[in-house]
């Protein structure tokens, strides 16, 4: 079947989330944009309590089915997440990024951890205090080229501990995950390191490093163009020792596979359409604002006319609507595939390519079309323009995702299409 009705639980969820976006996010958007590195405790507490009340302990969808759930409904976990993220990003994408619950760090444990590890590391997100986790991949000299990371993890046979050394940058929520605060629970970071520098990708593994572990510290909080309410940390790991079972995946280098690296990339297959969903949320906010301002000025968009008869503004708005809706449908298709356990690397990367393009173009055009109103900090539009750009950069730049799409459609390996 081909159908486009959002499932009922999603519609109910959306109603609540819209209220959150309107009342908890939008009114403080400007304040936190102008007070970088302050923490929006009210929003964090509210979201934590709300998620506890609804049984949602983590942003990562749970694979374990509760007993007694006999009714077989099609799975919609990722679809719900995509809708949720779109709506929260419509409220404020920076603030969405400080939603407690584990984010990408928890997603990595979910994707690459054993059942014991999932229990050990993920249960905390349902605890009393809001708790954060973060993913540490990028290093000062290695961004998109993730196989080039230099952080090392060496097993100390005396103590059976891993000793980790290196530097990580651009860690979203790294500070909230690592720096102890009375308001927050004990978080962790997931650090990607090599257990054998000569093995390339085959040697790459992820390690869980808990808050309070000696030798790990946040050395810098970045000042950014947008999403300023979300902390972006630089982290140094200096002889950090973690227990043996903090490694996600196999502890030995397996020659025939690149499992360690491929696992990391699998995480991205499921999270890319979710990042794309946040881009769509920002784009929708900008387009709605643009249409509202135009309507206030007596400009109605006439649909159904040949382009030759449209005004430039009508043409722009219509093009934006085409971009926005089609990007959203690509997101929905990608997460629908994830929910139904279909391989979705292509759909996933395509949705990210599209959403990255669409959100940057819509916000850029909207600022221009509204002239001085668009550029003024009196309105949030200029902030959305700044917030939007990151969508085309993090979780795989538009170019990296084009590369993935191209390899998929051409049937090429990484070696065949570099």
């Amino acid at each position: 079947m081909i159908e486009f009705d959002p499932p009922k639980p999603i519609l109910q969820q959306q109603y609540v989330l819209k209220t959150v976006a309107e009342n908890m996010m939008r009114p403080v958007s400007r304040y936190f944009d102008e007070h970088e590195h302050e923490i929006p405790y009210d929003y964090i507490q509210f979201m934590h309590q709300a998620m506890r009340a609804t049984g949602a302990g983590s942003l990562a969808p749970s694979e374990e089915k509760k007993e007694g759930e006999k009714e077989k409904r099609p799975p919609i976990g990722y679809q719900m997440l995509a809708h949720m993220l779109e709506m929260l990003a419509w409220g404020d994408v920076g603030m969405y990024l400080v939603t407690p619950g584990g984010g990408l760090g928890a997603a990595a444990v979910q994707a690459a951890g054993t059942p014991e590890q999932r229990q050990k590391f993920l249960a905390r997100f349902a605890g009393e205090k809001p708790t954060f986790a973060a993913m540490c991949m990028t290093e000062p000299h290695a961004g998109s080229d993730t196989a080039a990371i230099r952080t090392t993890a060496v097993l100390d046979p005396q103590t059976n501990e891993w000793v980790i050394n290196g530097q990580k940058i651009f860690v979203t929520a790294g500070d909230k995950s690592l720096t102890p605060r009375e308001e927050f629970g004990k978080g962790f970071i997931v650090v990607w390191a090599t257990i054998d520098p000569s093995a390339g990708r085959a040697g790459m593994r992820a390690f869980v490093v808990e808050m309070g572990t000696p030798g790990v510290k946040v050395v810098k909080l970045e000042k950014k163009m947008g999403i300023r309410v979300s902390d972006t940390a630089a982290i140094v790991l200096d002889n950090v020792r973690v227990p043996f079972d903090h490694i996600l995946g196999s502890p030995t280098v397996e020659k025939e596979t690149e499992k360690g690296f491929k696992r990391a990339m699998l995480t991205f297959d499921s999270t890319r359409p979710l990042v794309a969903a946040t881009g769509v949320g920002v784009a929708r906010a900008a387009l709605e604002f643009l249409k509202e301002k135009l309507a206030e000025n007596g400009i109605q968009i006439r649909y159904g006319l040949p382009r030759q008869k449209l005004t430039n503004i009508e043409r722009e708005v219509i093009d934006m609507e085409i971009m926005l809706r089609s990007a959203w449908l690509m997101v929905i298709k990608a997460v629908w595939m994830a929910d139904n356990r279909m391989p979705n690397a292509l759909a996933s990367s395509m949705s990210k390519v599209k959403a990255g393009d669409v959100v940057t173009r819509i916000t850029q055009r909207a600022v221009e079309l509204l002239g001085p109103l668009g550029y003024s900090r009196e309105y949030l539009l200029e902030k959305w323009f700044r917030d939007a750009k990151i969508t085309d950069i993090y979780e795989g730049t538009g170019q990296i995702n084009r590369l993935i799409v191209a390899r998929q459609i051409l049937g090429y390996t990484g070696a065949e299409l570099r």
């Binding site: 159904g304 382009r307 595939m337």
Partner: protein, 365 residues
């Protein structure tokens, strides 16, 4: 629920059309384009796939219910084979579907069984007019109420198969509203050009120009009879067909240039291994998928009676115009000089690609 997989029945239809599109339409496309003739047997074979027949209820001689979703799936697959061939096979849609959607009971009884129970016959429609700002909702062809009927005056261009058509729907402005009128062949005052129209593309299709001079139409021949009809369902059915066929043409161009890029070598590697080419292909595939999904949703909204269906159908058609131009242009670019030579089909698809912006009214599902 969300769902993105055609039903079993739809898959079977797509498979059948795909075989016809590949083995018959595609194989005949270049020769038809150069000679200006589509073999009648070719059209009849496509007609026998039964896309229109399956859209008409049994009460009117068909064997199904109209589904816009099935329609856009079928249209994409047909147009992937060859646009001119697909439009020829679907020409009777231009007459039958407006009657099905908005005609009176008597009109449905009179025309639908005759069309769907027989062999392919070019029942057609006249929509487009020779003005740069042609707009289906603001026509220059007029209909005036007179002597217990309507009198039509004006010029229509690009009317497919007009010279062979048993009857056609002519769209005209009645008090500022576009309305359809059923005009049988040989009606007094209806003049069909002796020469065929000459266009940049679609040379295989016989298009004619109509001149209407005081053509008298009885009230029973107005679409929907005296009460008339709404234009939205007709326009929506045209727009989703246009978008679906654009997706089909774009997909053909994308696949052809992708395969070429994997064969052609330059500087010691396949050109597809160069990011300059690979990224073009990635963007082509992405934009095709974007418009396909937008159009699927529009069609689904039509089938489920959503109020904004016609609006999204319009968005899909407008988006498709840009998408198909971009994709077909890049397909020629990827083949380089070879793309410009008529030995390859990409130049034909690029000419088709440009046409979609003015094809409203020439296709319908």
């Amino acid at each position: 629920m969300y769902a993105f997989e055609p039903s079993e029945e739809q898959k079977m239809l797509i498979d059948a059309i795909n075989r016809y599109a590949a083995n018959d339409l595609r194989a005949a496309a270049r020769e038809a384009e150069e000679s200006g003739e589509l073999p009648p047997k070719l059209i009849e074979k496509g007609w026998e796939l039964g896309v229109l027949q399956a859209s008409i209820p049994e009460a009117y001689g068909g064997f199904g219910e109209r589904s816009a979703v099935t329609g856009v799936l079928a249209a994409e697959e047909m147009a992937w084979g060859d646009l001119a061939g697909a439009m020829a096979v679907f020409t009777p849609h231009l007459f039958a579907l407006p009657i099905l959607l908005t005609g009176s009971e008597a009109q449905k009884q009179e025309y639908l069984p005759a069309i769907v129970e027989g062999e392919w016959r070019p029942y057609t429609a006249a929509m487009i007019e020779p003005f740069f700002d042609f707009d289906p909702q603001a026509l220059r062809t007029t209909a005036e109420e007179r002597d217990g009927g309507y009198v039509l005056n004006g010029i229509k261009i690009w009317v497919p198969f007009a010279a062979q058509a048993p009857a056609m729907i002519v769209y005209a402005s009645l008090n500022g509203q576009t309305q359809g009128f059923i005009v049988p062949a040989g009606t007094a005052g209806l003049e069909i050009s002796s020469e065929r129209e000459k266009l940049m593309g679609l040379n295989a299709l016989p298009f004619y120009r109509l001149t209407l001079k005081d053509v008298f139409i009885p009230k029973t021949q107005r679409l929907g009879e005296e009460a008339g009809h709404a234009m939205e369902p007709i326009l929506a059915a045209q727009w989703v067909a246009q978008a679906a066929m654009a997706v089909g043409v774009a997909r053909a161009a994308f696949e052809y240039s992708r395969d070429y890029a994997k064969e052609r070598e330059a500087f010691g590697v396949k050109i597809a291994q160069k990011q300059a080419i690979a990224f073009m292909l990635a963007e082509m595939a992405t934009e095709i998928e974007a418009i396909r999904l937008l159009n699927w949703e529009a069609a689904w909204k039509m089938d489920t009676g959503k109020e904004d269906a016609w609006q999204q159908a319009y968005l899909a058609a407008v988006g498709a115009m840009d998408m198909v131009m971009m994709v077909t242009d890049r397909a020629v670019q990827i083949l380089g000089g070879h793309g410009y030579i008529r030995d390859h089909p990409v130049e034909l698809w690029m000419r088709n690609g440009r046409g979609f912006a003015m094809f409203t009214g020439l296709m319908m599902v």
